[in-house]
């Protein structure tokens, strides 16, 4: 069974926490250590960012991390070799998150095949159009890789249904009309959006991401979905801790308790 599917079927009631970090930032060789530390510290799923030179859906923190990672020499090839090396030591699902051009240049079939070989369970590609997703899905399925699609406050109910009908794993629910980046609170409009989606009784579990950085935003997400995804906040803490993942986790748990 795909690890993503297993995670959600095993944890129907518990509140999940997924973290994002950009591979290659702050240090080139930190990938394996960060992943193992996060698993040890109770994180349920990890999104490993594949850096791209022009990440148009990301805010300043993740953009800066990608720039640093590329400068450090990170590439998809390099990342795969790092993941392969720790494959047997990781039990939680790993998802690669990156832009379409990087995967296209690697070759889509080759990409999904290598994902499987390296113990990756899913991929998030923010600029992948739905029509192209439908073309890629059979290839991803062949290697048991889930392509995770996003919905936003701008996504129509009809389209959400369509995405729900055609995907498997979970739906990545973007909290707000924004690029990635920490927010202080989720206002009423967001709560309303969360409840509206909740009321749709979708097939797939949902994870809420974008803007989660403290107790209020975390709890709000975990109440309204299977769990929360934290990106920019953790990337920042990891950078502040010079790549010491344990220290970054201490700081994250501290921030999430306030």
């Amino acid at each position: 069974m795909n690890k993503i599917n297993k995670l959600f079927s095993d944890n129907k009631d518990s509140k999940l926490l997924s973290l994002y970090f950009c591979a290659g930032c702050p240090t080139l060789e930190g990938t394996g250590d960060i992943i193992k530390t996060l698993e040890r510290r109770g994180i349920n799923m990890i999104e490993v960012g594949v850096p791209f030179s022009d990440p148009m859906a990301d805010g300043p923190v993740i953009q800066a991390a990608a720039t640093k990672a590329l400068k450090n020499g990170m590439s998809l090839r390099k990342l795969f070799s790092q993941l392969k090396a720790i494959k047997d030591e990781v039990n939680i699902p790993l998802i690669l998150m990156g832009y379409l051009n990087v995967m296209m240049q690697y070759g889509f079939e080759n990409f999904f095949k290598t994902c499987q070989e390296c113990g990756v369970s899913g991929a998030i590609i923010p600029d992948l159009p739905f029509d192209d997703y439908l073309e890629l899905k059979p290839i991803a399925d062949k290697y048991d890789i889930r392509i995770i699609m996003l919905i936003t406050p701008e996504t129509s109910e009809e389209r959400i249904r369509f995405i729900d009908d055609n995907t498997d794993g979970f739906i990545y629910m973007v909290s707000s009309a924004s690029t990635t980046g920490a927010q202080k609170s989720f206002d009423e409009a967001k709560q309303e959006y969360f409840q509206r989606i909740n009321g749709m009784n979708l097939r797939n579990p949902r994870m809420i991401g974008f803007g989660i950085s403290n107790k209020q935003t975390l709890e709000s997400s975990q109440q309204n979905a299977a769990g929360a995804i934290i990106g920019s906040k953790f990337v920042q803490l990891l950078d502040n801790a010079n790549g010491n993942a344990d220290k970054a986790m201490d700081d994250l748990y501290d921030a999430l308790s306030k």
């Binding site: 148009m56 051009n101 690697y106 996504t155 924004s178």
Partner: protein, 399 residues
């Protein structure tokens, strides 16, 4: 339906599409549905054409360049987009899109700019229509084109210098897209070139197609037939070239020659000649020929001209190049500089550095011309903004 225009899925052959984050899906879809009925409506046409005539000063002249014709052994006509209000062809598109934005009920305008011409055009249109305007511009371009920055500010626009990447047009575009992601419902993004997600490339081409519409009747008046033997233009993102060729795309009697920025040479790593050195990739929502590494990271382009400093070219042009419909040649920095001085001395016209990349092709292709061949070359903008560059290179130029 022209075989070179966009298909229903938003592709020109193998190029184009709309590779955008989900947050922009609805906005782009709304635009796709709305733009065609609006720009085809009588109300829009009337308003748009009145502005083009009385505000921009169209039609722009089609000028017979006698001395240059003699030198290059052809009948050379210059399409004078440099004489438009704000100094370039960019205003044709900015006015069209702002009218569209108003009719779609949008209340805020954003734009990217490289040389600053599109930023100035957009800031101008916003002043005219009383709309708030934010322009994203690479920090390096802000330095290189400071006069245009001051113009935009004087027109009431907010100019955001972008410090990421190489601090040029590509980075300004990333930042504009980010703003759009954060404000999809009230903001209209006026893209300045034939790039970005479908329907932008086609929409911008159509709003610039007034250039070739005029060339048709102007040629009819001047030479008794409505088509030239050659059309020439420079191409960065591709908007003035698209406008120049739009109504001739299917007229195979008309040969198309486009000049892209060779920088220090296509065999160096200092170039912006994306059709010569690029490979298939995806940037800013569109599948195009792109300057990139094997790993799919975008390579920073280089050109002396801030307006051509983009790592790709629009999907329309990629397809014209691939199908052989257009000949695309690089013009290097030094060749463009020389061409700018040549036009200045021979015809008394100081062209923009971008336009000089089209002029720089004349010596390269003159051997193709017969004496009676009619060549229409678009001078997309005037050179006032480039005077610092021209003056600093003056001593290197030998005419």
């Amino acid at each position: 339906m022209s075989k070179y225009t966009v298909n229903e899925q938003g592709f020109y052959g193998n190029y184009g599409g709309a590779y955008i984050p989900e947050i922009l899906y609805k906005t782009v879809e709304d635009l796709k549905k709305a733009y065609e009925p609006i720009i085809e409506s009588e109300e829009f046409k009337k308003e748009y054409h009145a502005l083009l005539k009385d505000y921009v000063g169209r039609p722009s002249p089609l000028y017979y360049a006698k001395r240059m014709s003699e030198k290059y052994g052809c009948q050379l006509y210059l399409k004078r987009e440099d004489l438009n209000h704000t100094g370039a062809h960019k205003i044709n598109n900015a006015l069209g899109q702002i009218l569209l934005a108003k009719k779609m009920g949008k209340t805020r305008i954003i734009a990217e700019t490289g040389a600053g011409q599109h930023g100035v055009a957009t800031a101008t249109a916003c002043a005219l229509m009383d709309m708030p305007c934010t322009v994203y511009m690479g920090a390096l371009d802000v330095q290189r084109q400071h006069v245009n920055v001051e113009r935009m500010k004087m027109l009431g626009a907010t100019v955001h210098p972008v410090e990421s990447g190489n601090k040029t047009l590509k980075d300004g575009t990333n930042e504009a897209i980010r703003d759009w992601c954060c404000n999809p419902s009230d903001t209209f993004y006026i893209i300045g070139s034939t790039v970005g997600p479908h329907p932008y490339p086609e929409m911008v081409a159509r709003l610039q197609s007034v250039i070739s519409e005029e060339i048709k009747w102007q040629l009819q008046e001047k030479i008794g037939r409505d088509y030239p033997d050659y059309l020439m233009a420079c191409v960065g993102g591709g908007s003035n070239a698209a406008g120049t060729i739009y109504h001739y795309l299917d007229d195979e009697r008309v040969k198309i020659i486009l000049g892209e920025a060779g920088g220090l040479g296509v065999d160096t790593d200092k170039t912006a000649a994306s059709m010569q050195v690029g490979t298939l990739g995806i940037l800013h929502g569109s599948r195009i020929k792109l300057m990139q590494t094997e790993d799919g990271q975008i390579i920073e382009p280089y050109s002396i001209s801030a307006g051509l400093d983009y790592p790709g070219t629009g999907p329309l042009h990629c397809n014209l190049y691939e199908t052989g419909r257009a000949q695309v040649l690089p013009a290097n920095d030094d060749e463009a500089l020389r061409a700018a001085f040549e036009l200045t001395r021979m015809e008394g016209i100081i062209p923009a550095l971008e336009s000089a990349h089209a002029l720089a092709l004349l010596p390269k292709v003159a051997s193709q011309f017969k004496k009676d061949d009619v060549v229409v070359l678009t001078v997309s903008g005037r050179g006032d903004k480039d005077l610092d560059t021209y003056l600093s290179h003056q001593s290197e130029i030998s005419l």
